[in-house]
């Protein structure tokens, strides 16, 4: 039985072990700055995974998850700085807020698919962005809200990094379990044929609603960690480009691979931080990298690795 479940979960176990190994040693030789980059990669990998559950398994491309992520960030920063509340409560409230926002999004978006889903989630995300920009008395307008810093026990970058690593890896195991569950199978069924699913007795809208809300929860956790990490929030955290970036990370790593999100997040964040030292045209480099991926490995980096392994096994 144990052996059996090991075989079933082998991809996840291997992936988590690799992430643990690669990321776990960063603080041993990295500077504080490199640790902070690694922390950021972890946080965004979680966001990208939440997007990948919908994109890769349910076949729905969301452009609203950046806003859900940012809603959590706003609530955490607001609660700690403006209200002066405890960071633990703030994180709980932030995740709750993100989950509620996702539930509202999910209620509206669960009945549509394809380009309509894309546009509807885009529009909903824009509403969150608009509120963040206009509700100046609460959100600080385009200047945003400045945080009060992490509590003493979390302040050390290495401690915070390991906590993020623990949370993100735990949640990635949970997300893996989710997509492998009976419910996860129904999402894949909806992706392949929604009409067949309803004739089999599934209320597809209900499944999409649950999926959207659940992924909103994961995006919310990422957003709350980001609040503690960045100690600042402004409308740029909830704007469209945040959702797009999360989606690009998922695509680059490989849609439907889940753990590809770590590769995608690492590639994009490292590129932003290191290529920009050499050229102001770094967004172009990002664009070319993306185009190259689409042409040579449309299934993403992890997808391509998987394919090569599979071909190797067959021959």
């Amino acid at each position: 039985m144990l052996v059996d479940s090991f075989a079933k979960n082998r991809p996840a176990i291997i992936a988590i072990a690799i992430v643990l190994l690669v990321f776990g040693i960063v603080p041993m030789f990295g500077s504080n700055y490199q640790i902070s980059i690694a922390t950021e990669i972890l946080i965004f990998a979680l966001l990208a995974m939440s997007i990948d559950v919908l994109a890769g398994f349910a076949g729905r491309t969301s452009l609203g998850h950046g806003a859900i992520f940012g809603a959590s960030t706003y609530v955490v920063v607001y609660w700690t700085s403006v209200v002066g509340g405890s960071p633990i409560v703030a994180v709980a409230l932030g995740i709750l807020a993100a989950t509620l926002v996702a539930a509202v999004f999910g209620m509206l978006a669960s009945r549509v698919s394809g380009v309509y889903f894309l546009l509807l989630t885009l529009a909903l995300g824009m509403i969150v962005w608009g509120v963040a920009l206009r509700w100046t008395s609460v959100s600080g307008g385009e200047n945003g809200l400045r945080g009060v810093g992490r509590p003493e026990w979390l302040n050390d970058p290495t401690v915070f990094f390991y906590i993020c690593l623990g949370i993100v890896l735990t949640l990635s195991a949970v997300i893996w379990r989710l997509v492998q569950s009976p419910f996860g199978l129904t999402l894949r069924g909806i992706r392949d044929s929604e009409s067949r699913m309803s004739s089999l007795g599934y209320g597809c809208a209900t499944h999409m609603f649950i999926a959207f809300t659940t992924t909103g929860f994961f995006a919310g956790v990422a957003g709350a960690l980001y609040a503690l990490f960045n100690n600042f929030v402004s409308p740029s955290t909830v704007q469209l480009s945040q959702s797009v970036e999360g989606l690009l990370m998922a695509i680059l790593g490989g849609i439907g691979t889940l753990f590809g999100a770590f590769i995608g997040a690492a590639a994009i964040i490292l590129l932003e931080n290191f290529v920009s030292q050499y050229t102001a045209r770094w967004p172009m480099v990002l664009g070319f990298m993306f185009i190259a991926t689409m042409i040579f490995a449309p299934e993403g980096v992890l997808g391509a690795i998987r394919r090569i392994f599979r071909v190797g096994k067959k021959s």
């Binding site: 945080g147 600042f232 402004s234 102001a280």
Partner: protein, 419 residues
Amino acid sequence: MQRRQFLKSTGAVLSASAFGTLATPAILRADNAPIRIGLMTPLSGVVAAGGREIAEGFNLFWEERGHEIAGRKVEIITEDDAGNPDTALQKARRLVEQEKVDFLFGNLLANTGLAVANYVKDNGTPYFIPVIAADDLTQRQRIRNVIRVAGYTASQMSRPLADWALKQGYKRVATIGQDYSFGHEQCAGFAQVFSEGGGEIVAQLWNPLNTADFSPYIGQLASMNLDAVFAMELGADATRFLKQYSDFGLKGNLPLLGAQNFTDQSVIRTMGDECEGVISSAHFAEGSENPETRKFVENYTKKFGKMPSLYGFSHYSGALWVGQVIESLNGDISDRDLFIDTVLASELPNSPLGRPVKFDDYGNPVYDIYIRKVVKNDEGKFWNVPIETYEQVSQFWTYDPEEYLKSPAFSRDYQGIKK
């Protein structure tokens, strides 16, 4: 000679003994390592044009000095903040934690500056902000190590223009501004002084950033029976507004007043007669007769083939200011507290403004502010020429700072208008 003057002015902070004990190790250290400066500026994104001028002005100063100050080499590490506060934060972290810079400089948009300011608040890295104009950074939310060298608060510059407008006999004025805090603050400075002086702010219009068509706004302004319009626009919005104001036939019939960026070189250098005659107020006027200003404008034009904008000027002057303080410390800026105190107590005697500048008690420079008019120069280019000077204008105008700070910060809802 200049150096001696400067030392005299900073003498209040640096007692002779303190200076003496520090001098020796400072010289030793000076030979060792270069001074590392992190410059953050938007080189991509919507404000990239202004961002490049920041880099130009800043680098111009250091090139003139051969990248050396007080016997130490100077290394400038430039980072693109993309006009995005999250990116700015990320880059600030890299510059401080990875590149170990001695201090940070730059940023253009208020939200990027505020994000970085909040970051350096915790780690004490000195951060100099020549164009981050958010009022509260030198008012209600001061951070000691965030210093506005050669900078200004948003509302500071538009107040003298309101006074000037009252003196012209204008009674009814409407404002139009970009709908974000830099716009709110600049319009409020004008509206507050104008209304307190007995004028009437007939209406306040707010356009979103990147407004393509101003005709609905200009149509409203034309129908309000006004004596003048105060416009706060920058970048492409300013160009479009000026053009459409002229197209609608308002130019020449309804006097147009502008905030400092409205007629900045970054806007008018590509424009024609549409911008002629607009009145604005700022501490810098590229068309000034002052020999120091002349020299700077000539140098800059020779180097870059265009006259300096406020962005380039402010960063040149900011670099000059901090450079002089580093010289006064014999190149030793390892004691951050001393460095910051020295900067705050210092004075900029020889800037391109051609007149000394010093900080008020809240870390914001006090300037002689020009009322400027856009005219064509001998070479057929438009520039801002001073027509009147308001001397020694602080961010608090004529108010008592303590009283002033009890009022709320300016916003779209609170414009300080006296009813």
